[in-house]
Symmetry: C2
Subunit: 252 residues, 2 copies
């Protein structure tokens, strides 16, 4: 059986990314422990982990509080992902794409072609695209053979809306999202081609540019908070006011 600590960590992270907490809200141990059905100890461990992941922050007088994110921070994290994935792409291109990796990449491309073959996309198609997109980016990270780079990307991806597929729910909700998804897929194709040809600089540039779609989506979502809230509840953690004082439930 999984340890209580591991379960508490996963459950807490889930609750946070589902927007269960007010930004700035104090995360007291006892209520959380009761909610998760464990004692304070595993909750404590999980909170410490979440703090290093950047999802919660230490309160000045002990304990933890839900973090508040600014749009700028999210954009910056997406930029960092682009820069790191760019490095991964360059490394793969420079060292040559191993045959098995190339096959996996090309399977992603074919899956994308299949999805975009028809005109209108159904819910299944969006789910399939999301799965394929996750796989593609995981291949990039895992395929570069640089453990420190993979660690850095994974760490960065813990921030809300930084991972590759984090903004896809938004994309599926509006008309232009379809075009952006197709654009992203074509970038995948170019990226694989560049890596296959050993074009390191080109691969890096494409991967870096590739995150712009995510940033566009973020901006789109932030302009329509009421529409976006249902698709991505964690969006409530992102507030334009950068340092507004916490009110409800904050403070020891």
């Amino acid at each position: 059986m999984e340890s209580h600590q591991a379960r508490a960590l996963v459950q807490l992270r889930d609750l946070i990314l589902k927007g269960s907490f007010e930004p700035g809200e104090r995360l007291a141990e006892i209520p959380l422990a009761e909610r998760l059905g464990v004692s304070r100890t595993p909750v404590r461990l999980a909170l410490a982990t979440l703090e290093r992941e950047g999802l919660v922050e230490q309160s000045v007088s002990g304990g933890y509080a839900m973090r508040r994110f600014t749009p700028r921070e999210i954009q910056d994290a997406i930029d960092v992902r682009g820069h790191l994935e760019g490095m991964a792409a360059r490394l793969i291109a420079e060292r040559g794409v191993p045959e098995a990796l190339l096959r996996d990449f090309e399977a992603c491309i074919r899956e994308g072609e299949r999805i975009f073959a028809r005109d209108a996309l159904g819910l299944d198609d969006y789910a399939a695209y999301t799965e394929m997109n996750n796989r593609f980016h995981a291949l990039l990270v895992g395929g570069c053979g640089n453990a420190a780079l993979a660690r850095a990307i994974e760490m960065n991806n813990r921030l809300p809306f930084a991972p590759a597929s984090a903004m896809l729910p938004m994309q599926s909700s509006h008309e232009e999202g379809h075009r952006w998804m197709l654009f992203a897929h074509l970038q995948h194709r170019s990226l694989v081609e560049a890596m296959k040809n050993g074009e390191g600089a080109r691969a890096q540039a494409i991967a870096q540019e590739h995150v712009q779609v995510a940033k566009l989506n973020l901006a789109y979502a932030l302009e329509r908070p009421e529409d976006a809230a249902s698709l991505m509840p964690a969006l409530r953690l992102v507030s334009r006011a950068p340092q507004r004082k916490a009110k409800a439930g904050a403070g020891r």
Copy 2:
């Protein structure tokens, strides 16, 4: 007063980076708690933090063990630092260097000029260079205004020998080290110039190339383990054998 947990974390990290533990050695809570004069609880928290930093790893049957590093992993981590610092340099260049930041950078350059003005370098000079080098890289990280980037760099710097000044003790020990340090200083100068001129691509390239000196030093140290051990005791954690089974003290 500082919390027991924070002290335990700092002390444990210190012990690790001083090479107090065999690679692969089991890090049992009770002996560590007695050694640090606290109970198991803060030690536990500290170990969990160190695991996320990548210094220790979870043992299959619970508990933690000292990590073993390969030269390749260290080189890769240094490469990641170069790539991330390159992004920071580019951002600063593109957005324009704020006046205060430029003053701080130029103070570092002047300090370097002062150090290299004489022919032979004394111990004081090496210490001063190290301090200046740390300051320079901290300015780069802090000055870019991208919190996610700063977090990624700081996280990467937790790996042994990844930080900017980690290899300097080696550099000060041999003849060629002097030349390399001078080379690094001249790169600092070029980098500041590029940022001042808004030359983003050039700044990025210089910062990225800048870490090659650290990699040269690492290779130099690994070829002379007996000389390097006294200067950098944590080098014992770096073993060429990538997956050699742990022997003494490992396993529950």
